[in-house]
């Protein structure tokens, strides 16, 4: 049976304003999977490398995290075809975090094996974080701290969706009837003051938040996943949530292509005037929500191609301390 809904996915990751000043690279990563015909499964993964002196290879850790998450989840979904929803839910919750963590650990271990910590990296670690941190990096099983990163994943299949999150960052759903922005995952109240749970932690697979939803009724128009550099650029959670409805309005009015072309500039603005951190945002979009002529595959009449490039997301504010 053909799936009822089709999907597109876009995303962008920009280097933070503070990283530009300090010479650090972008330590976020984003990866998504969608077939050209828009049929599910659609996957979106985002990761935020910690960037602290102890996590000096977290850009690599983040990149490995999104690659592993998409690959492992795609394989998982391929193996779940024709199973009852309850079986899929239980398997996803029980096995997927462990598989992702185990594969990520194997990949960063392999990266380290091929690229041992250099004397320069270890000297800088000792200078910036002390002797204990250097000894921990060299010690068995603690070396993965150097690659520490968070992970957010949204997966859309033909009859269900699920979300996985380890660490800070945000997954939001935006409905169009009625217009509503929600956080499908429970908040982790312990994630404050820039401390986060991480793929490099012991028993990281036990620290994931998970939510499974069967696709009854109309699914969300948008699913947004972003690193905390984006939400930290807004004064209040309410201001950040408004991005959801603003993006929905822009896509409805101007199409997803317009948002895709503008996204990097918007995220740069957010970092510059907000958190200063790297900022990454991915958007899974239900096809057909835009006005005629602006949906993927639509043939637009000439007069409707002009795009009003006046809409902007809410202006962020500095990060309080």
């Amino acid at each position: 049976m053909k799936p009822e809904y089709k999907w597109s996915v876009i995303g962008q990751s920009v280097r933070g304003a503070s990283h530009l000043r300090s010479g650090l690279p972008n330590q976020d990563a984003i990866k998504f999977h969608a077939d050209t015909d828009g049929e599910p499964p659609v996957l979106l993964a985002i990761s935020d490398g910690h960037g602290s002196p102890k996590s000096f290879r977290s850009a690599v850790g983040a990149q490995r995290a999104v690659e592993v998450a998409v690959r492992v989840t795609k394989t998982f979904l391929d193996g779940m075809k024709d199973l009852p929803l309850s079986a899929i839910k239980n398997a996803a919750e029980r096995f997927l975090p462990a598989d992702i963590v185990k594969t990520w650990m194997q990949e960063v271990d392999e990266h380290l094996r091929c690229n041992p910590f250099s004397a320069e990296e270890l000297d800088r670690l000792e200078r910036e974080a002390g002797v204990a941190a250097k000894q921990a990096a060299i010690a068995n099983e603690r070396h993965r701290i150097a690659y520490g990163a968070t992970l957010l994943l949204a997966a859309v299949s033909d009859s269900y969706l699920f979300y996985l999150q380890l660490g800070d960052g945000d997954i939001l759903t935006v409905s169009d009837t009625p217009q509503q922005v929600e956080s499908p995952l429970p908040q982790d109240a312990s994630l404050i003051a820039n401390e986060t749970t991480s793929l490099c932690m012991d028993r990281a697979q036990k620290l994931f938040r998970f939510r499974f939803q069967s696709m009854q009724g109309i699914p969300p128009a948008l699913i947004l996943a972003s690193t905390d550099g984006y939400s930290n650029s807004f004064s209040t959670p309410g201001d950040f949530y408004k991005v959801g409805t603003d993006l929905l309005g822009m896509i409805q009015k101007n199409g997803l292509d317009y948002v895709e072309k503008s996204l990097a500039a918007w995220l740069d603005d957010a970092s510059r005037s907000g958190s200063g951190d790297d900022v990454s945002l991915g958007i899974i979009c239900r096809c057909g929500i835009a006005q005629p002529g602006h949906n993927p595959g639509d043939v637009a009449p000439e007069e409707s191609r002009a795009v009003q490039a006046t809409d902007q997301p809410p202006q962020p504010a500095p990060h309080p301390e």
Binding site: G51, N194, T196, G276, P318, H319
Partner: protein, 208 residues
């Protein structure tokens, strides 16, 4: 605290405002807000509202009496409660300055601070003025064996160390980098560079 010590502390804080503003300007993505608690006989807010550093003005302290440090920490703990703090924020920097020994329940006050998630994640610095200050309680407040209390024995030394305590941890905490919750290092979540060397007094009259 009285006499030369309190005069020196007031001078040191006034001289630290511009350097703090400079740190804030170097980190435009972090908004620096300052509050102050004073304690002697009891404890109360000296600057109660979080004040943006470019708007911060110092009114001289007058703290004659005993050293109710426990009450100060209890007041601090209330301010650090989750419902009283912004939902998203960088680690706070807490600087405890004292010239004596606590005369009330210091351990109870410290426990109240450490029961708050924002308290455990704060950068905590201790500054001792003169040789009568209890370094043990300041070390307990800091809670990290690798970071020792700063000890100021004269006017110039106090100015130098208050300036350091007001700016260097602030700069470190203003970094948007995140940290894994269980990284080794005794729970330290912000790495602080080593403090400055002692400053010599200009004259014998400047020694506490």
């Amino acid at each position: 605290m009285q006499g030369k010590k309190i005069e020196s502390l007031n001078l040191a804080i006034k001289e630290s405002i511009k350097p703090m503003q400079d740190v804030a300007d170097e980190n435009p993505n972090a908004e620096v807000l300052v509050r102050v608690i004073k304690f002697s006989d009891g404890a109360q807010w000296h600057v109660s509202q979080p004040t943006e550093i470019h708007n911060f003005k110092w009114t001289d302290l007058d703290a004659d009496g005993v050293t109710d440090m426990g009450k100060a920490l209890t007041l601090l703990a209330d301010a650090l409660k989750l419902e009283n703090m912004p939902q998203r924020g960088l680690p706070p920097v807490l600087v405890l300055v004292s010239d004596g020994q606590p005369t009330d329940d210091f351990n109870g006050g410290l426990k109240a601070v450490m029961e708050q998630p924002w308290g455990t994640k704060a950068v905590r610095i201790g500054v001792a003025i003169g040789e009568d200050a209890d370094l043990g309680v300041l070390q307990k407040f800091i809670g990290n064996a690798e970071v020792k209390p700063l000890v100021a024995s004269n006017v110039q030394d106090l100015v130098k160390k208050i300036k350091w305590a007001s700016t260097v941890p602030l700069k470190a905490a203003s970094n948007p980098a995140s940290r894994s919750k269980d990284t080794p290092g005794g729970g330290v979540n912000v790495q602080i560079p080593a403090p400055p060397a002692d400053a010599a007094p200009v004259s014998a009259a400047d020694v506490f």
